[in-house]
């Protein structure tokens, strides 16, 4: 991932430590957790705290594609893991506090599926999809893609963490069945992340991961961080399964609206294919995810049922918060993106200069 600009004292210290890598002074690394604790103490709203959410996002990124210019060995640096756990504990506590979780049914696959479908059906969060379909301007469509790109350019990856963490049986088979489809069924040109990049390119956007990160609000990073939190902690495997189920259940109908919006703005099949594909794919996936993945897991490990429901409900809560904020911005003719950072990290500027000198366009 391209290196972001810091958003406060914590991310400033963290990015410095990451870039120093093996050369980082032990005391620099040792002070990170204290910096994390200070940032948490100062945060009035953790989900919207830029410094904390970006720090968590960068720490998780070490486990995905890494950060440009950062030694891959930093993935398992104990002080970074310690900082991550400190931030994660506060983040998880916040989510558990604000996410309303429905009463658990019997740990029976069909009962779990019906509870999840009921939860998704009751969701009356603000409709970004209807706004996109009816009234979004081309600039707003572009902002919509930039905001979605944090997840969609690596679509399916956070849920793949769950594969080795699920027991042999129905739930694991279901997850792999869904993921195989997400990753194109063996055809790279049909990978959903690739299709999303094609859509972005169709609107003239840069598709390199992290290119727009400095413009991404904390709340959007929080949604992505929730997936990594659930995916990277084995004890939360129920939540990542529930997360995927709710994600799929709130996808096919909104995607038909997104497709409508981009067609209304004059874009062709190269741009809308991603959305059209999701209408069909996610109508399949939601059935598998609800019954076989979430339901199958509840039957195999009934003690995970509360977390399955928590993971599902977290999707709806975070989506509603994001939708509310995006619609408020767009309806007020304002940007839903952060203002571009005035002071990119010096190392990012140096990397860009190196790239320019090497003839690579920034």
């Amino acid at each position: 991932m391209l290196l972001p600009a810091p958003r406060g004292a914590l991310t400033s210290a963290l990015l410095d430590a990451l870039l120093a890598g093996a050369d980082a002074a032990p005391e620099t690394l040792g002070q990170l957790t204290a910096a994390g604790e200070s940032a948490l103490a100062a945060a009035s709203d953790l989900l919207r705290d830029d410094d904390v959410q970006l720090a968590l996002f960068c720490l998780y990124e070490l486990h995905y594609s890494g950060l440009e210019g950062v030694d891959p060995a930093m993935e398992w640096e104990p002080e970074l893991i310690r900082l991550r756990r400190t931030l994660e504990a506060a983040f998880e506590a916040t989510l558990r506090n604000i996410v309303p979780v429905p009463a658990a049914p019997e740990p029976d696959a069909e009962a779990v599926a019906q509870t999840l479908f009921g939860l998704a059906a009751e969701d009356d969060g603000p409709s970004v999809s209807r706004f996109i379909a009816r009234s979004a301007t081309e600039d707003q469509l572009r902002e919509f893609l930039i905001l979605r790109s944090v997840y969609q350019l690596r679509e399916a990856d956070p849920h793949s963490w769950a594969i080795p963490r699920l027991p042999v049986g129905r739930a694991k088979a279901a997850l792999v069945e869904i993921q195989a489809d997400e990753y194109g069924g063996g055809r790279p040109e049909r990978m959903h992340s690739h299709l999303f990049a094609r859509t972005m390119a169709g609107l003239g956007l840069d598709t390199r991961y992290g290119y727009y990160l400095d413009r991404i609000p904390a709340l959007v990073l929080a949604s992505s961080n929730a997936m990594s939190l659930f995916g990277l902690n084995r004890r939360l495997r129920g939540s990542i399964a529930g997360h995927l189920a709710a994600f799929e259940m709130t996808s096919s109908i909104p995607n038909s609206f997104y497709a409508k919006g981009f067609r209304r703005a004059g874009f062709g099949p190269d741009v809308t294919f991603y959305f059209d594909e999701h209408v069909e794919a996610d109508a399949v996936h939601e059935q598998i995810a609800a019954r076989d993945l979430a339901g199958g897991l509840a039957e195999a490990e009934p003690e995970l049922l509360p977390d399955i429901l928590f993971g599902a409900a977290a999707v709806l809560t975070l989506d509603a918060l994001q939708g509310e904020f995006q619609l408020a911005a767009w309806k007020g003719n304002e940007s839903a993106l952060r203002t571009a950072a005035p002071d990119p990290h010096p190392a990012a500027a140096a990397l860009a200069a190196d790239a320019a000198a090497a003839g690579v366009s920034p």
């Binding site: 069909e110 019906q114 479908f117 998704a120 059906a121 069945e177 195989a180 489809d181 069924g185 096919s252 109908i253 038909s256 594909e277 209408v279 069909e280 794919a281 996610d282 109508a283 399949v284 939601e286 059935q287 598998i288 019954r291």
Partner: protein, 98 residues
């Protein structure tokens, strides 16, 4: 594209007129075939079809499919028939038959 389904019919949907036929390879689980066709009627939702099968429309034309496992519309409300697009969730009674 058009033709007569070669394999054994395993399911049909009244609302859209499509039928599902097991391919020759997919029709006999008793004969040790590892990939028999399975059809799951999702309560209030589509038919979920897995295995080695082909889908034909009411006129007997083969409907090309884009994925291994498909969801067939049962409520008749889908805009991408014969596939499900989740529209049953917006209808009061979901799919008519369970």
């Amino acid at each position: 594209m058009s033709g007569t389904p070669a394999g054994k019919p395993v399911a049909s949907v009244e609302a859209t007129g499509v039928s599902v036929s097991a391919t020759t390879a997919g029709q006999d689980s008793a004969a040790g075939n590892p990939d028999p066709v399975s059809v799951m009627a999702c309560p209030g939702g589509p038919l979920l079809v897995r295995g080695d099968f082909e889908v034909f429309d009411a006129e007997g034309n083969l409907v090309p499919k884009n994925r291994e496992t498909v969801a067939l519309c049962r409520c008749g409300g889908s805009k991408i028939k014969p596939w499900c697009d989740g529209t049953h969730k917006l209808l009061k009674h979901g799919s008519a038959t369970d």
